[in-house]
Amino acid sequence: MAGLKENLIIEFQDLEEIIYLLQNVSEYDLSGYSKSSLKRRVERFLQVQNMDIVDLKNTIINVKDFQHYFIQELVVNVTEMFRDPHFYVSLKKNVIPYLKTYPQIRLWSAGSSTGEEAYSTAIVLNESEILERSFIYGTDISPRALDIARKGVYPLSKIKSYTENYLQTQPTSDFSSHYTAMYDAAIINKEYRNKVLFSTHNLVTDNAFNEFQLIMCRNVMIYFDKELQRRVLNLFYDSLSLFGFLCLGSKESLYAHDIKNNFKVIDKQYNIYQKIK
Protein backbone atom coordinates (compact mmCIF):
# COMPACT_ATOMS: atom_id res chain seq x y z
CA MET A 1 0.00 0.00 0.00
CA ALA A 2 2.50 2.55 -1.19
CA GLY A 3 2.00 6.01 0.23
CA LEU A 4 -0.86 4.99 2.52
CA LYS A 5 -0.13 5.46 6.17
CA GLU A 6 -1.26 2.34 7.91
CA ASN A 7 -3.15 2.58 11.18
CA LEU A 8 -3.06 6.30 11.41
CA ILE A 9 -4.27 7.44 14.81
CA ILE A 10 -5.05 11.02 15.80
CA GLU A 11 -5.39 12.52 19.27
CA PHE A 12 -8.77 13.32 20.80
CA GLN A 13 -7.51 16.90 21.06
CA ASP A 14 -7.10 17.02 17.27
CA LEU A 15 -10.64 15.77 16.89
CA GLU A 16 -11.90 18.60 19.12
CA GLU A 17 -10.06 21.12 16.94
CA ILE A 18 -11.58 19.69 13.77
CA ILE A 19 -15.04 19.90 15.34
CA TYR A 20 -14.38 23.48 16.38
CA LEU A 21 -13.10 24.56 12.96
CA LEU A 22 -16.12 23.01 11.26
CA GLN A 23 -18.45 24.87 13.61
CA ASN A 24 -16.73 28.10 12.63
CA VAL A 25 -16.87 27.70 8.88
CA SER A 26 -20.22 25.95 8.55
CA GLU A 27 -23.55 24.96 10.02
CA TYR A 28 -22.20 21.54 10.89
CA ASP A 29 -21.95 20.79 14.58
CA LEU A 30 -20.34 17.44 15.32
CA SER A 31 -19.75 18.19 19.00
CA GLY A 32 -22.53 15.80 20.07
CA TYR A 33 -21.31 12.81 18.06
CA SER A 34 -19.79 9.79 19.83
CA LYS A 35 -16.13 10.68 19.98
CA SER A 36 -14.38 7.35 19.36
CA SER A 37 -16.64 6.49 16.50
CA LEU A 38 -16.21 9.93 14.89
CA LYS A 39 -12.46 9.82 15.43
CA ARG A 40 -12.25 6.56 13.51
CA ARG A 41 -14.16 8.15 10.63
CA VAL A 42 -11.76 11.09 10.54
CA GLU A 43 -8.78 8.71 10.62
CA ARG A 44 -10.25 6.70 7.77
CA PHE A 45 -10.81 9.89 5.78
CA LEU A 46 -7.19 10.98 6.28
CA GLN A 47 -5.98 7.57 5.25
CA VAL A 48 -8.04 7.41 2.08
CA GLN A 49 -7.15 10.99 1.11
CA ASN A 50 -3.53 10.51 2.09
CA MET A 51 -3.69 13.67 4.20
CA ASP A 52 -2.37 14.45 7.65
CA ILE A 53 -4.16 16.34 10.36
CA VAL A 54 -2.51 19.67 9.47
CA ASP A 55 -3.58 19.31 5.83
CA LEU A 56 -7.10 18.63 7.01
CA LYS A 57 -7.26 21.70 9.25
CA ASN A 58 -5.95 23.90 6.44
CA THR A 59 -8.40 22.44 3.98
CA ILE A 60 -11.37 23.03 6.27
CA ILE A 61 -10.40 26.67 6.66
CA ASN A 62 -9.33 27.42 3.11
CA VAL A 63 -11.23 25.30 0.64
CA LYS A 64 -14.68 26.58 -0.13
CA ASP A 65 -17.47 23.99 0.24
CA PHE A 66 -15.05 21.33 1.44
CA GLN A 67 -17.18 20.90 4.59
CA HIS A 68 -20.11 19.45 2.61
CA TYR A 69 -17.90 16.83 1.06
CA PHE A 70 -16.16 16.10 4.35
CA ILE A 71 -19.35 15.63 6.35
CA GLN A 72 -20.70 13.17 3.81
CA GLU A 73 -17.52 11.15 4.12
CA LEU A 74 -17.75 11.09 7.92
CA VAL A 75 -21.28 9.81 8.29
CA VAL A 76 -21.98 6.10 8.05
CA ASN A 77 -24.49 5.39 5.29
CA VAL A 78 -24.48 1.60 5.56
CA THR A 79 -28.04 0.33 5.23
CA GLU A 80 -30.09 -2.40 3.57
CA MET A 81 -33.66 -3.25 2.66
CA PHE A 82 -35.61 -4.98 5.43
CA ARG A 83 -32.73 -4.62 7.86
CA ASP A 84 -33.67 -6.67 10.95
CA PRO A 85 -36.51 -8.49 9.16
CA HIS A 86 -38.30 -9.31 12.41
CA PHE A 87 -38.73 -5.62 13.09
CA TYR A 88 -40.97 -5.47 10.03
CA VAL A 89 -42.92 -8.50 11.25
CA SER A 90 -43.55 -6.68 14.49
CA LEU A 91 -44.52 -3.54 12.61
CA LYS A 92 -47.16 -5.48 10.69
CA LYS A 93 -48.46 -7.21 13.76
CA ASN A 94 -48.36 -4.48 16.39
CA VAL A 95 -48.46 -1.14 14.62
CA ILE A 96 -50.18 -1.39 11.25
CA PRO A 97 -53.59 -2.41 12.68
CA TYR A 98 -53.53 0.82 14.65
CA LEU A 99 -52.37 2.93 11.70
CA LYS A 100 -55.26 1.51 9.69
CA THR A 101 -57.68 3.50 11.80
CA TYR A 102 -56.33 6.78 10.41
CA PRO A 103 -57.72 8.33 7.22
CA GLN A 104 -54.28 9.77 6.39
CA ILE A 105 -50.96 8.41 7.60
CA ARG A 106 -47.72 10.37 7.61
CA LEU A 107 -44.44 8.57 8.33
CA TRP A 108 -40.93 9.89 8.77
CA SER A 109 -37.75 7.91 8.15
CA ALA A 110 -35.16 10.10 9.87
CA GLY A 111 -31.60 9.33 8.79
CA SER A 112 -32.96 7.47 5.77
CA SER A 113 -29.54 7.25 4.09
CA THR A 114 -29.92 5.85 0.56
CA GLY A 115 -33.64 5.12 0.99
CA GLU A 116 -33.80 1.36 1.55
CA GLU A 117 -35.62 1.72 4.87
CA ALA A 118 -38.27 4.07 3.46
CA TYR A 119 -38.95 1.79 0.49
CA SER A 120 -39.09 -1.30 2.70
CA THR A 121 -41.71 0.47 4.79
CA ALA A 122 -43.65 1.48 1.67
CA ILE A 123 -43.74 -2.17 0.58
CA VAL A 124 -45.08 -3.22 3.98
CA LEU A 125 -47.75 -0.49 3.80
CA ASN A 126 -48.72 -1.72 0.37
CA GLU A 127 -49.05 -5.31 1.57
CA SER A 128 -51.27 -4.01 4.36
CA GLU A 129 -53.34 -2.08 1.81
CA ILE A 130 -52.78 1.33 3.31
CA LEU A 131 -50.12 2.69 0.97
CA GLU A 132 -52.79 4.72 -0.84
CA ARG A 133 -53.43 6.88 2.21
CA SER A 134 -49.86 6.99 3.43
CA PHE A 135 -46.97 9.31 2.73
CA ILE A 136 -43.36 8.85 3.82
CA TYR A 137 -40.80 11.59 4.37
CA GLY A 138 -37.20 10.44 4.17
CA THR A 139 -34.60 12.85 5.52
CA ASP A 140 -30.85 12.78 5.93
CA ILE A 141 -27.89 15.09 6.40
CA SER A 142 -26.21 13.72 3.26
CA PRO A 143 -27.40 15.11 -0.11
CA ARG A 144 -25.41 12.43 -1.88
CA ALA A 145 -27.25 9.63 -0.06
CA LEU A 146 -30.58 11.38 -0.76
CA ASP A 147 -29.81 11.53 -4.50
CA ILE A 148 -29.44 7.77 -4.56
CA ALA A 149 -32.61 7.43 -2.46
CA ARG A 150 -34.66 9.53 -4.89
CA LYS A 151 -33.58 7.44 -7.85
CA GLY A 152 -34.48 4.22 -6.04
CA VAL A 153 -31.93 2.30 -8.08
CA TYR A 154 -29.84 -0.35 -6.33
CA PRO A 155 -27.17 -2.73 -7.63
CA LEU A 156 -28.55 -6.12 -8.55
CA SER A 157 -25.71 -7.65 -6.53
CA LYS A 158 -27.42 -6.50 -3.34
CA ILE A 159 -30.87 -7.79 -4.27
CA LYS A 160 -30.03 -11.34 -3.23
CA SER A 161 -29.47 -10.44 0.42
CA TYR A 162 -32.43 -8.02 0.36
CA THR A 163 -34.58 -10.88 -0.90
CA GLU A 164 -33.35 -13.10 1.93
CA ASN A 165 -34.30 -10.41 4.44
CA TYR A 166 -37.68 -9.94 2.79
CA LEU A 167 -38.47 -13.64 2.93
CA GLN A 168 -38.18 -13.45 6.73
CA THR A 169 -40.84 -10.75 7.01
CA GLN A 170 -43.75 -13.13 6.30
CA PRO A 171 -44.39 -11.42 2.99
CA THR A 172 -47.56 -11.77 0.96
CA SER A 173 -45.88 -11.27 -2.41
CA ASP A 174 -42.65 -11.92 -4.30
CA PHE A 175 -39.84 -9.45 -3.70
CA SER A 176 -39.28 -9.27 -7.45
CA SER A 177 -42.75 -7.79 -7.89
CA HIS A 178 -41.61 -4.57 -6.20
CA TYR A 179 -38.80 -3.64 -8.56
CA THR A 180 -37.79 -3.85 -12.21
CA ALA A 181 -34.40 -5.27 -13.13
CA MET A 182 -32.42 -3.36 -15.73
CA TYR A 183 -28.93 -4.58 -16.69
CA ASP A 184 -27.08 -4.79 -13.37
CA ALA A 185 -29.50 -2.69 -11.33
CA ALA A 186 -32.97 -2.85 -9.83
CA ILE A 187 -35.29 0.15 -9.81
CA ILE A 188 -37.95 0.31 -7.13
CA ASN A 189 -41.48 0.52 -8.57
CA LYS A 190 -42.89 3.95 -9.23
CA GLU A 191 -45.88 3.33 -6.95
CA TYR A 192 -43.36 3.37 -4.08
CA ARG A 193 -41.14 6.16 -5.34
CA ASN A 194 -44.23 8.38 -5.66
CA LYS A 195 -45.04 7.81 -2.02
CA VAL A 196 -41.72 8.96 -0.57
CA LEU A 197 -40.28 12.46 -0.50
CA PHE A 198 -36.59 12.75 0.28
CA SER A 199 -35.08 15.98 1.57
CA THR A 200 -32.17 17.20 3.68
CA HIS A 201 -32.77 17.67 7.37
CA ASN A 202 -30.10 17.91 10.04
CA LEU A 203 -31.22 16.33 13.30
CA VAL A 204 -28.68 18.40 15.23
CA THR A 205 -29.83 21.84 14.08
CA ASP A 206 -33.18 21.60 12.29
CA ASN A 207 -36.60 21.55 13.90
CA ALA A 208 -39.91 19.76 13.59
CA PHE A 209 -41.51 20.17 10.16
CA ASN A 210 -44.70 18.14 10.31
CA GLU A 211 -46.78 15.87 12.51
CA PHE A 212 -46.43 12.13 12.09
CA GLN A 213 -48.22 8.94 13.08
CA LEU A 214 -44.94 7.02 12.87
CA ILE A 215 -41.29 8.03 13.07
CA MET A 216 -38.49 5.60 12.47
CA CYS A 217 -34.95 6.56 13.32
CA ARG A 218 -32.84 3.46 13.25
CA ASN A 219 -29.07 3.20 13.61
CA VAL A 220 -28.66 6.98 13.58
CA MET A 221 -28.66 7.94 17.25
CA ILE A 222 -25.96 5.37 18.03
CA TYR A 223 -23.59 7.94 16.52
CA PHE A 224 -24.74 10.61 19.01
CA ASP A 225 -23.83 11.11 22.67
CA LYS A 226 -26.55 10.99 25.33
CA GLU A 227 -27.11 14.72 25.36
CA LEU A 228 -27.65 14.93 21.62
CA GLN A 229 -29.84 11.83 21.77
CA ARG A 230 -31.99 13.68 24.29
CA ARG A 231 -32.39 16.64 21.93
CA VAL A 232 -33.32 14.41 19.02
CA LEU A 233 -35.78 12.38 21.10
CA ASN A 234 -37.49 15.62 22.12
CA LEU A 235 -37.70 16.59 18.47
CA PHE A 236 -39.36 13.25 17.71
CA TYR A 237 -41.70 13.63 20.65
CA ASP A 238 -42.79 17.05 19.36
CA SER A 239 -43.24 15.66 15.85
CA LEU A 240 -45.43 12.71 16.85
CA SER A 241 -49.18 12.86 17.14
CA LEU A 242 -50.62 11.50 20.36
CA PHE A 243 -50.57 7.67 20.14
CA GLY A 244 -48.04 7.90 17.31
CA PHE A 245 -45.19 5.36 17.12
CA LEU A 246 -41.45 5.71 17.47
CA CYS A 247 -39.23 2.97 16.06
CA LEU A 248 -35.55 2.74 16.99
CA GLY A 249 -32.78 0.41 15.84
CA SER A 250 -32.36 -3.08 17.22
CA LYS A 251 -29.67 -2.03 19.72
CA GLU A 252 -31.17 1.34 20.71
CA SER A 253 -33.70 2.04 23.41
CA LEU A 254 -35.32 4.82 25.44
CA TYR A 255 -34.12 3.07 28.58
CA ALA A 256 -31.59 5.74 29.60
CA HIS A 257 -33.86 8.71 28.82
CA ASP A 258 -36.54 10.36 30.97
CA ILE A 259 -38.76 10.78 27.95
CA LYS A 260 -39.51 7.05 28.20
CA ASN A 261 -42.20 8.02 30.71
CA ASN A 262 -44.22 9.54 27.87
CA PHE A 263 -44.08 6.36 25.86
CA LYS A 264 -45.48 2.87 26.14
CA VAL A 265 -43.28 -0.05 25.07
CA ILE A 266 -44.90 -1.86 22.17
CA ASP A 267 -42.03 -4.20 21.34
CA LYS A 268 -39.15 -4.46 23.79
CA GLN A 269 -36.90 -6.47 21.52
CA TYR A 270 -37.33 -4.38 18.39
CA ASN A 271 -37.65 -1.09 20.24
CA ILE A 272 -41.04 0.13 19.11
CA TYR A 273 -42.70 2.74 21.34
CA GLN A 274 -46.02 4.57 21.37
CA LYS A 275 -46.46 8.13 22.58
CA ILE A 276 -49.12 8.06 25.29
CA LYS A 277 -48.89 11.52 26.80
Binding site: N7, I9, S37, R40, V78, I222, K251, A256
Partner: protein, 188 residues
Protein backbone atom coordinates in the same frame (compact mmCIF):
# COMPACT_ATOMS: atom_id res chain seq x y z
CA UNK B 1 -22.49 -0.12 39.90
CA UNK B 2 -18.97 1.21 39.69
CA UNK B 3 -17.07 2.12 36.54
CA UNK B 4 -14.13 -0.19 35.93
CA UNK B 5 -10.68 1.34 35.82
CA UNK B 6 -9.16 -1.80 34.34
CA UNK B 7 -10.39 -3.68 31.33
CA UNK B 8 -9.70 -7.14 29.94
CA UNK B 9 -10.43 -7.72 26.27
CA UNK B 10 -10.88 -11.06 24.56
CA UNK B 11 -11.00 -11.53 20.80
CA UNK B 12 -11.87 -14.90 19.35
CA UNK B 13 -13.22 -16.47 16.22
CA UNK B 14 -13.53 -20.05 14.95
CA UNK B 15 -12.40 -22.51 17.61
CA UNK B 16 -12.42 -20.06 20.52
CA UNK B 17 -15.86 -20.57 22.01
CA UNK B 18 -15.04 -23.55 24.23
CA UNK B 19 -12.11 -21.76 25.84
CA UNK B 20 -14.15 -18.60 26.36
CA UNK B 21 -16.96 -20.56 28.04
CA UNK B 22 -14.39 -22.37 30.19
CA UNK B 23 -12.63 -19.23 31.39
CA UNK B 24 -15.91 -17.48 32.17
CA UNK B 25 -16.94 -20.49 34.20
CA UNK B 26 -13.72 -20.19 36.20
CA UNK B 27 -14.25 -16.54 37.11
CA UNK B 28 -14.40 -15.75 40.83
CA UNK B 29 -17.70 -14.48 42.19
CA UNK B 30 -16.34 -10.92 42.24
CA UNK B 31 -13.65 -9.28 40.12
CA UNK B 32 -12.53 -5.69 39.98
CA UNK B 33 -12.32 -5.35 36.20
CA UNK B 34 -14.62 -5.25 33.22
CA UNK B 35 -14.28 -8.06 30.69
CA UNK B 36 -15.22 -7.38 27.14
CA UNK B 37 -15.47 -10.02 24.42
CA UNK B 38 -15.68 -9.92 20.66
CA UNK B 39 -16.62 -13.31 19.34
CA UNK B 40 -17.22 -13.63 15.62
CA UNK B 41 -20.55 -15.33 15.19
CA UNK B 42 -23.42 -15.76 12.86
CA UNK B 43 -25.87 -12.86 13.12
CA UNK B 44 -28.73 -15.34 13.44
CA UNK B 45 -27.56 -16.41 16.88
CA UNK B 46 -27.79 -12.85 18.16
CA UNK B 47 -27.82 -12.79 21.97
CA UNK B 48 -28.32 -16.45 22.77
CA UNK B 49 -24.75 -17.06 23.92
CA UNK B 50 -24.72 -14.40 26.63
CA UNK B 51 -28.24 -15.31 27.71
CA UNK B 52 -27.44 -18.97 28.22
CA UNK B 53 -24.05 -18.27 29.84
CA UNK B 54 -25.49 -15.77 32.28
CA UNK B 55 -28.27 -18.15 33.24
CA UNK B 56 -25.86 -21.03 33.68
CA UNK B 57 -23.06 -19.17 35.48
CA UNK B 58 -25.19 -16.68 37.45
CA UNK B 59 -22.86 -13.80 36.62
CA UNK B 60 -23.33 -10.40 35.04
CA UNK B 61 -22.85 -11.52 31.46
CA UNK B 62 -24.61 -9.19 29.05
CA UNK B 63 -24.72 -8.06 25.47
CA UNK B 64 -23.21 -4.57 25.35
CA UNK B 65 -25.45 -1.82 24.04
CA UNK B 66 -25.21 1.80 23.03
CA UNK B 67 -23.91 4.24 25.72
CA UNK B 68 -23.80 1.60 28.43
CA UNK B 69 -21.44 2.31 31.38
CA UNK B 70 -18.50 -0.09 31.54
CA UNK B 71 -18.58 -1.52 35.06
CA UNK B 72 -16.51 -3.72 37.34
CA UNK B 73 -17.52 -7.32 37.82
CA UNK B 74 -19.27 -7.43 34.43
CA UNK B 75 -18.72 -9.41 31.26
CA UNK B 76 -19.82 -7.74 28.02
CA UNK B 77 -20.22 -9.34 24.62
CA UNK B 78 -20.14 -7.25 21.45
CA UNK B 79 -23.62 -7.41 19.89
CA UNK B 80 -23.88 -9.29 16.60
CA UNK B 81 -23.89 -7.09 13.51
CA UNK B 82 -22.29 -3.99 15.09
CA UNK B 83 -18.79 -2.82 15.89
CA UNK B 84 -18.26 -2.20 19.57
CA UNK B 85 -16.21 0.86 20.58
CA UNK B 86 -15.13 2.46 23.82
CA UNK B 87 -15.74 6.16 24.40
CA UNK B 88 -13.60 8.53 26.50
CA UNK B 89 -16.28 8.68 29.21
CA UNK B 90 -15.95 4.90 29.79
CA UNK B 91 -19.14 3.97 27.99
CA UNK B 92 -19.65 1.74 24.98
CA UNK B 93 -20.81 2.94 21.64
CA UNK B 94 -21.81 0.77 18.72
CA UNK B 95 -21.55 1.51 15.04
CA UNK B 96 -22.67 -0.18 11.87
CA UNK B 97 -19.90 1.07 9.59
CA UNK B 98 -18.23 -1.19 7.04
CA UNK B 99 -17.00 -4.66 7.97
CA UNK B 100 -13.31 -4.80 8.92
CA UNK B 101 -11.46 -7.99 7.99
CA UNK B 102 -14.86 -9.26 6.79
CA UNK B 103 -16.08 -8.94 10.36
CA UNK B 104 -18.62 -6.87 12.23
CA UNK B 105 -18.08 -6.79 15.17
CA UNK B 106 -14.37 -6.51 14.48
CA UNK B 107 -11.82 -7.32 17.17
CA UNK B 108 -9.52 -4.61 15.81
CA UNK B 109 -12.12 -1.90 16.36
CA UNK B 110 -12.68 -2.78 20.02
CA UNK B 111 -8.97 -3.28 20.74
CA UNK B 112 -7.95 -0.05 19.02
CA UNK B 113 -10.49 2.16 20.81
CA UNK B 114 -9.95 0.48 24.19
CA UNK B 115 -6.18 0.94 23.86
CA UNK B 116 -6.53 4.70 23.64
CA UNK B 117 -8.87 5.02 26.60
CA UNK B 118 -7.51 2.47 29.10
CA UNK B 119 -3.86 2.62 27.98
CA UNK B 120 -1.71 0.57 30.42
CA UNK B 121 -4.87 -0.55 32.24
CA UNK B 122 -5.84 -2.64 29.26
CA UNK B 123 -5.06 -6.37 28.94
CA UNK B 124 -5.98 -8.18 25.75
CA UNK B 125 -6.21 -11.85 24.76
CA UNK B 126 -6.25 -13.00 21.15
CA UNK B 127 -7.51 -16.54 20.68
CA UNK B 128 -8.14 -19.10 17.97
CA UNK B 129 -9.51 -18.02 14.61
CA UNK B 130 -9.31 -18.50 10.86
CA UNK B 131 -8.72 -14.87 9.92
CA UNK B 132 -6.39 -12.04 10.90
CA UNK B 133 -8.78 -9.77 12.79
CA UNK B 134 -7.35 -8.48 16.08
CA UNK B 135 -3.67 -8.46 15.11
CA UNK B 136 -3.48 -4.72 14.38
CA UNK B 137 -5.55 -4.01 17.44
CA UNK B 138 -3.04 -5.91 19.57
CA UNK B 139 -0.22 -3.82 18.18
CA UNK B 140 -2.03 -0.62 19.07
CA UNK B 141 -2.66 -1.85 22.62
CA UNK B 142 1.04 -2.58 22.85
CA UNK B 143 1.90 0.92 21.59
CA UNK B 144 -0.35 2.48 24.21
CA UNK B 145 1.28 0.51 27.01
CA UNK B 146 -1.24 -2.29 27.51
CA UNK B 147 -0.52 -5.96 28.07
CA UNK B 148 -1.02 -8.43 25.23
CA UNK B 149 -1.44 -12.18 25.44
CA UNK B 150 -1.86 -14.62 22.58
CA UNK B 151 -3.14 -18.17 22.80
CA UNK B 152 -0.27 -20.48 21.90
CA UNK B 153 -0.72 -21.17 18.16
CA UNK B 154 0.47 -24.72 18.78
CA UNK B 155 -2.58 -25.45 20.95
CA UNK B 156 -5.15 -23.18 19.30
CA UNK B 157 -7.73 -25.18 17.31
CA UNK B 158 -7.20 -22.76 14.40
CA UNK B 159 -3.96 -20.91 14.50
CA UNK B 160 -4.28 -18.27 11.77
CA UNK B 161 -5.41 -15.57 14.17
CA UNK B 162 -2.83 -16.19 16.92
CA UNK B 163 -0.08 -16.40 14.31
CA UNK B 164 -1.13 -13.09 12.76
CA UNK B 165 -1.10 -11.58 16.26
CA UNK B 166 2.45 -12.81 16.82
CA UNK B 167 3.64 -11.46 13.48
CA UNK B 168 2.16 -8.04 14.02
CA UNK B 169 3.40 -7.34 17.56
CA UNK B 170 6.78 -6.93 19.27
CA UNK B 171 6.55 -8.61 22.67
CA UNK B 172 3.38 -10.64 23.06
CA UNK B 173 3.09 -13.19 25.86
CA UNK B 174 2.27 -16.62 24.48
CA UNK B 175 0.10 -18.66 26.85
CA UNK B 176 -1.30 -22.16 26.97
CA UNK B 177 -5.00 -22.72 27.57
CA UNK B 178 -4.48 -23.74 31.18
CA UNK B 179 -2.46 -20.61 31.91
CA UNK B 180 -5.22 -18.48 30.38
CA UNK B 181 -7.92 -20.22 32.40
CA UNK B 182 -5.98 -19.93 35.64
CA UNK B 183 -5.45 -16.20 35.01
CA UNK B 184 -9.22 -15.71 34.95
CA UNK B 185 -9.67 -18.02 37.89
CA UNK B 186 -7.40 -15.89 40.06
CA UNK B 187 -8.68 -12.48 39.02
CA UNK B 188 -9.60 -10.23 41.87
Amino acid sequence: MQLASNIILIGGSAGSYTLIAELLEQLPSYFDTAICIVLHRNRQYDTQIEKSLSRKLKKNIVSAFDKLDICKNHVYFAPAGYHLLIEPDFTFSIDSSEHINYSRPSIDVLFETAAQIYKEKCTAFLLSGANTDGAKGLRIIEEFGGRIIIQDPEVAPIRTMPLAGKRETLNPEIWTDSKIVSYFNTLN
